[in-house]
């Protein structure tokens, strides 16, 4: 299954958008204006369409800042700590998020792709 194509379809339907140039780099919250209830629906839909168990705090990286603070508090390496929490994210992606997180929520469609791909392996 083309995970990106399917996710694009789901997101277009859910957000009632057409003709937007959605790519893996699109930011869900900043570019598409997704609100918390939209993410809630997205999780339920991904769960049903891809037949995977979705944990909202994982797929939407909701605790990214919290984990980052926890790592510092515990004197651990932030990258290593976050990679342990979000094993579906590549190290360079984690570094990228850390670099831009002050600009607002960094959740991109490619993160959803990573999560779905990772989770699908465990079905």
């Amino acid at each position: 299954m083309d995970v990106f194509a399917e996710l694009k379809k789901i997101i277009e339907e859910l957000m009632d958008i057409k003709d937007r140039n959605i790519t893996p780099e699109t930011l869900l919250i900043q570019d598409l204006g997704a609100e918390s209830i939209d993410l809630l629906e997205l999780a339920v839909t991904i769960n049903s369409r891809f037949k995977i168990a979705v944990r909202d705090d994982e797929i939407f990286l909701t605790r990214f800042r919290l984990y980052s603070a926890e790592a510092k508090q515990q004197g651990e390496d932030t990258m290593h700590y976050i990679a342990g929490k979000y094993p579906f994210l590549a190290k360079d992606r984690i570094a990228d998020i850390m670099a831009h997180i002050k600009e607002g929520p960094q959740l991109k469609i490619k993160d959803l792709i990573s999560y779905v791909t990772y989770r699908s392996q465990w079905v």
Binding site: M15, D16, K18, E41, V44, T45, S48
Partner: protein, 404 residues
């Protein structure tokens, strides 16, 4: 100085059309849209064809939470705001009063229900919103920027008339200067039809579909369900004049009451329905003889029409107002009927035209002036009356714009 309340914007989505011109043409050319639904050939419905909420709202992600009735409410609310010329900044302190009913499309919402199991993988996370009565209000507020006093009224078939009445009172008593009020509803799904069929209130028979709705006729056999929505902007008169708003009419009086009797049938003496109408007249400082047109609830059920004929006899003795029954044109739009019938009455008032009660061949009461032929007729004061399941009674009096 007494505060007065005027209607400065209006919209309606109905089976007769969506704007003044189209609706007047439908009245005069007798174009109605009664049909037998595909899922039940025993009953007749009147549906709104060619309706897409996005034509009014643009792309709308919240649309996923709107049942068809709520879609009519949101679309007509947005259309009324457009008609008012008000911008978001003008509406921050405005109120919002919505008449709403239940989503009875149970089978459509939960096609796999067996043994009470409704859970399924594709159920929305927030499917509850499709059933909460204030979902329409929430979406209207989000789109319009309304933040003021608000109320979602769920008093069955008098709901939207009461919503407008409550908005009127809030402005009249100074709590608000401006309020959006109306409603939308649709129960034409198999669930909705089943509900009313079991209650033995629907027309069942083999007449031509457009002959099924026949309020006040001796051969009436029940109501024909319809759907749609209508909204109004109500404003305090001086404020409306200040901004040069168009005035469609003045709301002069409102009354409501409860039968406190049976759950569905009207109370037999009509005493409490009478109270609602008399309260409206009193607030309007009008005598029954000043009412030119009565827009009846006129469902076409045996009990409602009999009770309403008694009511007319009782209140308007010797006055002979013209009596119309708009459900013979659009069917019974449940909680939205009051708003829709007010909109149609205002259109008729502007047009100096009154439409006949369709299919009325053998009137159940000879001495009442049921309108039998649509005709040109200027009129000044009109009362809208609605009576709902649960013994909910509402009456609203409007005065012609030129008289304001």
């Amino acid at each position: 100085m007494k505060r007065r309340v005027v209607i400065t914007a209006m919209s309606i989505l109905s089976s007769l059309g969506h704007d003044h011109g189209e609706i007047v043409r439908s009245f005069k050319e007798r174009k109605v849209s009664f049909e037998r639904p595909a899922f039940d050939d025993e009953v007749v419905t009147s549906s709104v064809r060619e309706f897409n909420i996005r034509d009014y709202t643009g792309p709308l992600k919240e649309g996923r939470y709107l049942n068809r009735g709520s879609q009519f409410a949101v679309a007509s609310a947005i259309a009324a705001i457009k008609d008012s010329g008000c911008k978001k900044d003008d509406l921050v302190e405005a109120g919002l009063f919505v008449g709403a009913g239940p989503n009875l499309n149970i089978g459509g919402e939960f096609p796999d229900v067996r043994g009470g199991e409704i859970d399924r993988e594709d159920l929305q996370a927030l499917w509850i919103l499709r059933f909460l009565p204030n979902t329409a209000a929430s979406v209207i507020a989000k789109l319009s920027g309304i933040h003021g006093e608000n109320l979602t009224v769920c008093t069955a078939c008098s709901a939207s008339l009461q919503a407008i009445g409550e908005a009127f009172r809030k402005i009249k008593t100074g709590y608000l200067d401006r309020a959006l009020a109306g409603g939308g509803d649709s129960r034409l799904s198999p669930g909705g039809i089943l509900a009313y069929k079991k209650a033995s209130t629907l027309y069942k028979g083999d007449s031509e579909p457009d002959k099924a709705s026949r309020p006040f006729d001796c051969s009436r056999k029940g109501f024909v369900p319809g759907e749609g929505g209508a909204f109004f902007l109500l404003e305090e008169f001086e404020k409306a004049k200040e901004r040069g708003a168009q005035i469609y009419g003045e709301i002069c009086g409102y009354g409501s009451s409860m039968d406190a009797c049976t759950m569905t049938a009207p109370e037999s003496t009509g005493k409490w329905r009478r109270l609602a109408v008399l309260s409206a007249l009193q607030e309007a400082e009008m005598s029954p003889s000043q009412i030119d047109v009565i827009s009846t609830h006129g469902t076409g059920t045996l009990l409602n029409d009999e009770g309403e004929a008694n009511l007319i006899d009782n209140i308007y003795i010797g006055c002979q107002p013209q009596v119309i029954a708009l459900k013979s044109w659009i069917g019974h739009a449940a909680s939205a009927c009051g708003a829709m019938e007010l909109a149609l009455s205002l259109i008729c008032m502007q047009e100096n035209y009154v439409p006949e009660i369709r299919n009325l061949k053998d009137p159940c009461r000879g001495e009442i002036k049921f309108l039998r032929d649509g005709r040109t007729l200027p009129f000044r004061n009109c009362v809208i009356e609605n009576f709902g399941f649960g013994g909910q009674n509402g009456a609203l009096i409007v005065r012609r714009a030129e008289d304001v």
